[in-house]
């Protein structure tokens, strides 16, 4: 009995030392990580191709601490007027002690995904709520999670897209209209705007393809003519404006 009690006494002492040392050394490791520029985030690059918006943010973690970093996860939620626009989540490889992780946080969002849930984001600037959550585990035992909320200004690629001054020219059988928008996005917009004139029976009675190549922060303004099949000219109807086969604007004509 006495031997058992002594053995238990030693086990308790050793376990207490481990229990107290672990949080202290983990705290020192975290202090090293946060206090000495061991984590760095570089300038993100934004591009638009294949109907998809891409953003790449390089960052590094220099693990100077005593323990490995594991389960490194970064999640970003983008919310517009309490509606979740999109969510990105990425899990990174473990960073062993005294080593460095050099990587990028890549996010891609397709035009369809953006348009399906929040069509107005393509044609209207907005303030988006951003929730960034970063988590990691130190020594495979103690987990840290930091969450921050911020607001970012979203610049719409077809901001304030409008069709105005609609005139039907009877002799030529065509619509003449004025098309304008501002590319408020941080990337250039290039492609084809397809404008369909649709009659009251929901039939396409004329189409015009308008090539656009608009740099970031610049305005697009153009007079557009749409040839019409006069035999099916039954009003009132609508103009459909599509970009990359994705409907971005619907305006009535009469």
């Amino acid at each position: 009995m006495w031997q058992t009690i002594r053995a238990l006494g030693w086990a308790i002492k050793i376990l207490w030392i481990v229990t107290l040392l672990l949080p202290v050394t983990v705290a020192i490791s975290m202090w090293e990580l946060l206090g000495s520029k061991a984590i760095g985030i570089e300038e993100p690059t934004v591009s638009f191709y294949d109907r998809t918006l891409h953003m790449s943010t390089p960052f590094y973690i220099n693990n100077n601490g005593f323990y490995d970093l594991s389960d490194i996860n970064v999640t970003i939620r983008i919310i517009n007027k309490n509606n979740l626009v999109t969510k990105f989540s990425k899990l990174y490889a473990n960073v062993p002690a005294k080593s460095m992780l050099n990587t990028t946080y890549d996010v891609s969002v397709s035009l369809e995904e953006l348009g399906e849930k929040n069509k107005e984001l393509l044609t209207q600037n907005a303030n988006l709520d951003l929730t960034i959550t970063a988590s990691l585990r130190v020594a495979y035992a103690i987990g840290f999670e930091i969450a921050a909320n911020t607001t970012i200004e979203w610049g719409a690629p077809f901001n304030n897209l409008t069709i105005s001054n609609i005139v039907y020219l009877v002799p030529n059988n065509e619509f003449l209209l004025f098309l304008s928008f501002e590319n408020a996005a941080s990337f250039p917009v290039s492609g084809e705007l397809v404008m369909d004139a649709v009659n009251a029976r929901d039939e396409v009675i004329g189409t015009k393809i308008q090539p656009v190549n608009v740099d970031s922060g610049t305005q697009f303004q153009s007079n557009v003519t749409i040839p019409i099949d006069p035999s099916r000219m039954i009003g009132p109807g609508v103009f459909h404006v599509s970009f990359l086969n994705f409907l971005i604007l619907e305006t009535e004509w009469s």
């Binding site: 009995m1 009690i5 376990l15 229990t19 840290f144 999670e145 969450a147």
Partner: protein
């Protein structure tokens, strides 16, 4: 016979006084240490009175158990108090750490620290302390001279 009883009574009184004095000195030193620690805790958790209150509960409990176990030295009650202290610490650690998940708001950010495995280790240590207390109590009872 009466003289022997009187002598035994005086020895008991002297022994008790000695134990109480020893317990008081140890408790005072422990109290001073916890008080110094309290200054840091208050500074660290200025905006979190809840954590200050939890620290105060722990400090008073430690002081009480330190005094009580020293006073009841060489009696069976000491082991009862050791078991009670371990049980208290298990419940306290689970409650105070919210089951091993600690969340604070720093500036505009929310920091969450999850240390369930460390908490499990703390619970295990105290559970072993309880087991040891029971074994010590059995050992003490079996070794005590029968009346």
């Amino acid at each position: 016979m009466v003289e022997a009883n009187e002598k035994s009574w005086k020895e008991n009184l002297r022994g008790s006084a000695h134990r109480i004095l020893k317990a008081t000195i140890i408790t005072v030193f422990l109290g001073i240490f916890l008080l110094v620690l309290w200054v840091f805790v208050v500074q660290l958790f200025t905006d979190y009175p809840e954590y200050q209150r939890l620290y105060a509960i722990l400090a008073w409990a430690i002081v009480f158990f330190a005094f009580a176990t020293k006073v009841t030295e060489e009696t069976i009650y000491k082991f009862g108090l050791i078991i009670a202290r371990a049980l208290f610490l298990i419940i306290y650690f689970i409650y105070a750490t919210n089951g091993g998940v600690f969340t604070i708001n720093v500036m505009d950010m929310r920091l969450t620290i999850e240390f369930v495995s460390t908490l499990a280790l703390m619970v295990l240590v105290n559970f072993l302390e309880m087991v040891r207390g029971v074994l010590q109590a059995i050992e003490f009872t079996s070794a005590s001279p029968k009346d």
